[in-house]
Symmetry: C2
Subunit: 254 residues, 2 copies
DNA sequence: TGCTGTGAATCGCTTCACAGCC
DNA sequence: GGCTGTGAAGCGATTCACAGCA
């Protein structure tokens, strides 16, 4: 137990702010779309609009990576795609295991965006013996008993937990003991992990509760400002920050 | 219930920081677990540990809601559960529609945590005519053509988008035009919405990319500190901030 | 001229440390 | 003595505004 204040300046090593790291994937997606349309260059203004952030923030973000733009012109799309991919570590392939092949786990396994960029589903693992061998998304499900062997054989360092809440902590411990150092947790539980292991979580009901809070507030205000009333087609605004991204806390730092 | 409620929330629910709102669901979950175990009171220290945050932050968070604790003692569990639920708007029922009943949409529909607290799946909507009438999680899927009618008939103000990226913006516009003012977006796209509509997004591949960044960094450092090597059973640390929660940007404000 | 890159100002959240009350 | 509630300090992220360069 870490009682002794292990004060670590959070983001040590390379000085890219967490908030910036969390936005890089957004930029990358926007850039990839531009690349597919063979657009050669973009201005910070255009790219920011496509990524749903403001341009000053984007320029500041990029300034942490280096000086990849050209004054008076903008950014070379292909070059930026490469630089960001490299920065995010997507130029290599990351084998990933998914543990817990229920509804959600199966949906994740089938999710296309997985393989698309740098990630590969190396194995599916479930505790139900009846699932063993059954293929999901073309990959045979393996039993939890073999978890350690699977992790080691495939050199997996990223694990996805999609088990029920009750099983998550134990699965987490086995993953970590077997060598996994990054975990994406879909189970509605707080995971305890040793230093050096990163955890990110995705939780539907938390997101809904946050929306409900704001929804309730809207209902309470009701017609404070003059406009409002007709949300339909009219003015549209690029949402400044959608959801859990622009976030900061991100990962538990090593 | 009701121990020290001598005070009224002097600071009416105006200025609750987004970061605090994003943590309330976490506290609520921890408190609910305590409640089920019939624990009558908790200290900020204990509750903070259960929620995976630090105790000063928790106390500060609660101070925005009012003075619900008792000095020298702690917080009354039942009373706090009620206060936080009320603050989050969970004392009322929120009908929710899910649009896009593919793998993910179906998994969401089946997700238990949905109904558990304040939310009810009012309808499932899909563009595929072949899906129409087919029950998923006991609820018959309806066709997109009837989207507007469904929203209005059920008084839905929260929508979940689980469609492919290409369809998301259009679905979003129809939801908003029909009266939805909060959207949870699972499609990997930036949604444009009018002022007054909140959007939160959940994106698997973004989370993975953020993990990959840190993973790559770890591989680069390698052997900076002496220990390492045996991540197994030893020291375990309550992750300070797991994933997209402790976040701030949250919702696009009205 | 136009757009990037960045110091400086600002904002908001977190953390500290202790006063206040049980 | 113990634990909450909170002013104040600290810190990171955002935003501003403009210098610098193609």
């Amino acid at each position: 137990m870490a009682t002794g204040r292990t004060h670590r300046p959070a983001t040590r090593s390379r000085g890219i702010p967490e908030a910036t790291v969390a936005r890089l994937p957004l930029y990358l997606r926007a850039l990839t779309a531009l690349s597919e349309r063979s657009v050669p260059t973009v201005s910070s203004e255009e790219l920011a609009a496509a990524a749903g952030v403001n341009s000053a923030k984007l320029r500041k973000d990029f300034s942490y990576l280096g000086s990849y733009g050209t004054r008076g012109v903008g950014y070379d799309v292909e070059y930026l795609v490469y630089q960001i991919s490299r920065e995010l570590g997507l130029t290599q392939d990351w084998p990933v295991v998914i543990v817990g092949i229920g509804n959600l786990g199966a949906a994740l396994a089938n999710y296309g965006g997985f393989a698309s960029r740098g990630f590969r589903v190396a194995a599916l693992i479930d505790a139900d013996p009846a699932m063993a061998g059954k293929p999901v998304a073309g990959i045979p499900v393996q039993h939890t008993d073999d978890l350690e062997k699977i992790i080691e054989d495939n050199g997996v360092s990223i694990g996805v937990i999609a088990t029920p809440a009750g099983a998550a902590q134990q699965v987490c411990e086995r993953l970590v003991a077997a060598g996994v150092t990054s975990i994406l947790n879909f189970a509605p539980t707080v995971l305890s992990v040793p230093d050096g292991v990163d955890v990110r979580k995705v939780d539907l009901s938390i997101e809904l509760q946050i929306l409900a809070f704001h929804e309730q507030r809207k209902a309470g205000e009701e017609s404070a400002s003059g406009d409002g009333a007709h949300p339909a087609a009219a003015a549209r605004k690029e949402s400044a920050d959608q959801g859990p991204d622009g976030d900061v806390p991100a990962v538990m730092p090593a």
